[in-house]
């Protein structure tokens, strides 16, 4: 309960939480405010924001409602960000736990692979994956997850290294617990908090990666995503710059909210490290 109190004492963390809740609310309510397909033709193209009450944020090059795309885009960003983060954290925990627990050649092999993933620029690997497996919503989400796991793996490994010889683990071993039980039942729950906090960083990066991919028109073109809209707006950037500007602000706010919440959680859970 202390941690919750500490969290709400930080104005930045509260601001982040409010922003995040707004984005989540947008994602949930998209269907109520804009029951029609956000990618369907809605009116004349390139209507400026606030000039027509029907289209509060204007329309894009092909006459689609920008506000509707922003609301539906929140769904896509949170979905891809959330699922990709879950994938990355899951792989990271598995690799890190086995490497840290067993040590020796298992550690060597797993860390070599992790190093290989870290040496290859993750956006380049993302391009390779998209080139090979195509760019549907599912493949892009998995690809973003697959390029993001090395950092959580290293973090988990470090936690396991410091925990694996503690008394409670040795006690478990004397009781005859199997390795798998020790790893997932005893050590993992203690190693988890910093990894969960780090998930916010992974999610922020995942959202940025997907939007960059969408901007380059290498993500799924059949969904209303913020990155797609920015890429579309690039064609009319010189005069109708708002088509690109508005979704960019949405991405900025979302990523900012996720990182503020993550930092708030970190400070609340590790009060001694506050301000670092």
């Amino acid at each position: 309960m202390d941690a919750v109190k500490r969290y709400f004492r930080s104005p930045a963390a509260v601001a982040g939480l409010i922003l995040l809740l707004i984005v989540i609310a947008m994602a949930i309510s998209a269907g109520w405010f804009y029951p029609r397909d956000p990618l369907a033709l809605a009116g004349r193209p390139l209507v400026w924001p606030f000039s027509n009450p029907r289209f509060l944020l204007g329309t894009d090059n092909s006459g689609r409602d920008i506000a509707a795309q922003i609301f539906y885009g929140a769904r896509i960003s949170l979905l891809i960000g959330g699922v990709a983060t879950a994938i990355a954290i899951l792989i990271g925990i598995l690799v890190g736990a086995f490497a840290g627990y067993y040590g020796g050649w298992v550690d060597n092999v797993l860390m070599r692979i992790t190093e290989a993933f870290q040496t290859l620029p993750n956006f380049v690997l993302l391009l390779v994956l998209v080139a090979v497996f195509g760019s549907t919503l599912t493949t892009v989400t998995i690809a973003v997850g697959v390029v993001s796991w090395p950092a959580p793996a290293r973090l988990t490994r470090a936690e396991f290294l410091s925990l694996r010889n503690r008394e409670f683990v040795q006690a478990g071993r004397t009781l005859g617990m199997r390795n798998i039980q020790l790893i997932f039942g005893e050590i993992l729950p203690n190693a988890l908090p910093p990894v969960i906090v780090y998930a916010s960083v992974v999610m922020a990066v995942a959202i940025l990666l997907e939007s960059a991919l969408a901007f380059l028109r290498l993500s799924d073109p059949n969904v209303a995503s913020w990155g797609n809209l920015i890429g579309l707006g690039r064609d009319v950037l010189r005069v109708q710059w708002y088509v690109s500007a508005i979704p960019g602000i949405a991405i900025l706010v979302t990523v900012l909210a996720v990182s503020l919440v993550g930092q708030g959680l970190n400070d609340a859970l590790n009060p001694r490290l506050k301000g670092r």
């Binding site: 620029p121 380049v124 690997l125 390779v128 950037l237 010189r238 960019g248 900025l252």
Partner: protein, 325 residues
């Protein structure tokens, strides 16, 4: 000499990593729909199956996958990256042409981010929890959350379309022929916006790390000694604190080298710079898998090189590292 042997050992240790990456990506690309011959046939405007078969035989594509992999690795040892059917040139020369803009862009962005990250980090740490710190930390958070390509587009709108101060893209002005210093100035003016765009997120990271590491070092005993000795605060910071506080920043350069290279893919596309990143994007769109594999190889090499240099700098900054080695 010890520094060199230590860094050299680290370099040798990265060779298996490089081989692992190449094997992994090579096998991955076998799943890609279509091969080089398909791309060539498409460029020629189609052809019959017999020609395709002959071409596959010519390029060794009819062999088994392990044999192809062996061939590829053996050619790599001789620095032969294969042939790009899209550009009609060896992949190595295509990449070599595109390398200078990327290296220039990365160096410029890194210097920008490192220098201003350091300055802002020091300012924030010296006024911790007062308004300069709050302002700088908030800006850092916002920069961190800004998608680089979006910042680039908005910078083009403001500085190229409305103010018309800077060119909106390209590497140099191709309309007029310039030489010497004028050409350098022209290229520099084309690189201002891309440098800011790519450097922004790293500026945010560096200033945060610098602030944290300054705060940590400022509390150490030897700093108290320096102050007790009667040194003024500026001298304490520049002569005593900075050198130790810089260590995490230098580590970060090595860790972020790959991220920066990845970021240049996007930034080069925004500003249509003819660099390695744009080549990576083009080769994905055009399905030029040979070139893509070559880029993977070169970018991994680049990251390993940066880490080698970082090791050298690190050992120079902190003599304890070599003493342990």
């Amino acid at each position: 000499m010890r520094i060199l042997s230590l860094a050299g050992r680290r370099l040798a240790a990265s060779i298996p990593t490089l081989v692992l990456i190449l094997i992994g990506v090579f096998l991955l690309l076998q799943f890609a729909p279509g091969d080089t011959v398909d791309a060539m046939m498409a460029q020629m405007g189609g052809g019959d199956a017999a020609t395709a078969k002959e071409l596959r035989k010519f390029y060794g594509l009819d062999l088994s996958i392990p044999a192809q992999l062996g061939n590829y690795l053996w050619r790599l040892v001789r620095l032969d990256l294969g042939f790009s059917s899209i550009y009609g040139k060896p992949v190595a020369s295509v990449i070599l042409e595109r390398l200078p803009p990327t290296i220039l862009l990365m160096t410029a962005s890194l210097s920008f981010a490192f220098f201003f990250g350091l300055v802002f980090g020091v300012i924030a740490a010296r006024g911790v929890n007062r308004w300069p710190d709050t302002l700088i930390s908030t800006l850092g958070l916002i920069f961190y959350a800004t998608p680089s390509f979006w910042f680039g587009l908005m910078a083009i709108v403001v500085f190229s379309v409305y103010l018309q101060w800077l060119p909106p893209g390209g590497f140099e002005d191709i309309g007029t022929v310039r030489t010497g210093i004028w050409r350098a100035l022209d290229i520099a003016s084309h690189l201002v916006l891309p440098t800011l765009t790519l450097g922004l997120i790293f500026l945010a990271i560096y200033l945060r790390i610098m602030r944290a590491s300054m705060l940590e070092v400022l509390n150490l005993d030897y700093v108290r000694t320096a102050r007790a000795k009667g040194l003024d605060e500026t001298r304490v910071v520049t002569r005593h604190v900075l050198r130790n506080a810089l260590l995490p920043m230098v580590t970060l350069i090595g860790l972020q080298a790959g991220t920066m290279l990845g970021g240049s893919v996007v930034v080069e596309s925004v500003f249509s710079l003819p660099g390695l990143g744009r080549l990576a994007y083009e080769s994905v769109v055009q399905r030029d898998l040979n070139t893509l594999l070559g880029i993977v190889f070169v970018s991994a090499l680049l990251v390993i090189t940066v880490n080698f240099v970082v090791d050298l700098i690190y050992a120079r900054l902190d003599p304890r590292i070599t003493a342990e080695g």
